[in-house]
């Protein structure tokens, strides 16, 4: 009887652990994607600079054109938290200053994730972030969070 309880406890415990592990994996699962022909190696600071208009090339001669998802979407909020590392309001203010003072071109926003993936798959200069579950061989992952 005792053994049975132990086994039951063990099974419950392992299920909990595996669920925790799985949810951790799900949480960390956004991919920053580029064209499959783009061999750039990027860290999170590089990605931040590209999306804030401070870095305009993957490497000399290879232009980088970021595509954002709209403010308020889960994807944008998580991107700001993981990569931009500023409060969302500050990010909005930063982009407003950039737009209205001629300091740079702000990334275009696209809400259709399938279209984002298609654009990245077809353009050498594109860079975007999408749910890792949607990643396939048409794009290359340069960073995950």
């Amino acid at each position: 009887m005792k053994i049975l309880i132990k086994v039951k406890l063990f099974i419950t415990f392992s299920m909990l652990v595996s669920q925790l592990l799985m949810s951790a994996v799900v949480f960390a699962d956004t991919s920053v994607i580029v064209h499959p022909g783009n061999k750039a190696v990027l860290n999170s600071k590089d990605i931040q600079r590209i999306f804030l208009g401070k870095m305009k090339e993957f490497s000399p001669g290879k232009a980088a054109t970021p595509i954002d998802q709209p403010f308020g979407t889960k994807a944008r909020t998580e991107f700001i938290e993981a990569i931009i590392k500023k409060p969302e309001k500050q990010t909005r203010a930063y982009l407003a200053i950039m737009l209205f003072t001629g300091a740079g071109i702000i990334p275009r926003e696209e809400s259709d994730v399938a279209l984002i993936k298609k654009t990245v798959a077809e353009n050498q200069d594109a860079i975007a972030y999408i749910d890792s579950a949607l990643v396939d061989a048409s794009v290359r992952v340069v960073y995950t969070y």
Partner: protein, 379 residues
């Protein structure tokens, strides 16, 4: 005439962008709708009362200052921006602005062509904001800062735009990003309160270093000024004016601290409008320290600022070495009630700290308490 000119510009932008395949036109804008009034003022020897001037580029315009009657004009403005990407790294931008202090007449704060010579270096040609100080480039973009208006003692310069050429280099080293900017050009204002003024910008420089939370900025500007028909500073006798500034900001998730110090040095015959009269000035310093906390959507903040202007006696000898000055405390609240709009309320208390001789002569012209509230938005 001006309106007609802008309609032509607008039409050309749209037509151009349609003609070029790579092109795209983007329409955006921002604005502020703010009301306020003075809660206390000072009686002046001439019989009038002190007012709170918020936009010194509009000195003499009654709508650009708060008095003891409610007004929705001094801090209100609206701007519409048209960006046209012509492809091949060339873009054209027009920002049409209407300021309440100027009876909402349409003007262009920015009207320029920009060309990315390299990914790091952009040359811009046309009408641009004069980037003397940290907030110069977005003085009217209330959505981007916590106050209703940046401290007038530091940012209330008599000129805010120039026409000319600027070069901007953006780069980075390690965790730091930097920007180097150089510009030359001129400012013409036929209807300035001082007269038909020209400022010939010999050279302007500014440099900014920033990382995720710290920003450091320094700027320098050397200009020659003259006023058509002014006896002591006409075109044959231009006066040299030099500006410097140093600024920093610390911006963490929950709080921020910002400060800037500016210095102006002028040749001995450089005349300035210092209401209620014109004076020659030698030296001017201004400063501000501002801090705030962020509690979710609420940002309370406090700011101290001041300005001291040392006069020279070249037009009125007994004014030599007298100081006209003020110190101001501003407390305010920003409430981000909407993603693209913020509600603000600011209480500003300005004290006239001028030399007694000046106060005896003019009264406490710089002293007033003001309350203002309103919303800023972007679209």
């Amino acid at each position: 005439m001006k309106r007609f000119f802008f309609i032509i510009v607008l039409l050309s932008l749209f037509l151009l962008s349609r003609g070029v395949h790579a092109g795209s036109v983007r329409l955006s804008g921002f604005g502020s709708i703010v009301g306020g009034q003075t809660l206390s003022d000072e009686d002046l020897p001439g019989g009038g009362k002190s007012v709170f001037q918020v936009d010194p580029t509009l000195t003499g315009f009654p709508d650009a200052a708060y008095d003891d009657t409610k007004s929705f004009r001094p801090d209100s403005n609206f701007a519409l921006q048209i960006d046209s990407d012509l492809g091949d790294d060339l873009s054209i931008t027009a920002q049409l602005t209407a300021r309440g202090g100027n009876n909402f007449e349409i003007d262009a704060e920015w009207l320029y062509a920009s060309y990315a010579l390299t990914p790091q270096f952009t040359a811009t040609f046309g009408r641009q904001r004069l980037p003397l100080y940290m907030y110069s480039n977005y003085l009217n973009l209330g959505y981007a800062y916590h106050w209703i208006r940046p401290p007038v003692e530091v940012y209330g310069e008599g000129v805010s735009t120039y026409e000319g050429l600027s070069g901007l280099y953006k780069g980075f080293v390690g965790d730091w990003d930097y920007e180097l900017m150089a510009y030359i050009g001129a400012i013409h204002n036929k209807t300035a309160v001082i007269g038909d003024i020209t400022l010939d910008l010999n050279l302007g420089l500014n440099v900014t270093f920033s990382n995720d939370w710290l920003k450091l900025r320094a700027s320098y500007n050397d200009a020659e000024a003259w006023v058509n028909g002014a006896p002591i500073m006409d075109k044959d006798n231009p006066q040299d004016i030099i500006f410097y500034s140093l600024g920093f900001s610390v911006d963490r998730m929950n709080y921020f601290v910002i400060s800037e110090i500016t210095i102006l040095e002028a040749d001995k015959y450089a005349q300035f409008s210092l209401p209620p009269s014109f004076v020659t000035i030698g030296f001017r310093e201004s400063w501000m320290v501002s801090m705030g906390m962020r509690f979710n959507t609420i940002t309370p903040h406090i700011t101290f600022s001041g300005r001291d202007t040392t006069l020279t006696g070249h037009s009125v000898p007994f004014l030599d070495d007298l100081v006209q000055g003020s110190e101001t405390v501003n407390v305010g609240l920003r409430w981000d009630f909407h993603d693209q709009a913020a509600f603000k309320v600011d209480y500003t208390s300005a004290k006239d700290k001028s030399d007694k001789t000046l106060i005896a002569l003019n009264g406490k012209t710089l002293q007033a308490d003001v309350i203002a509230f309103g919303i800023d938005f972007v679209f």
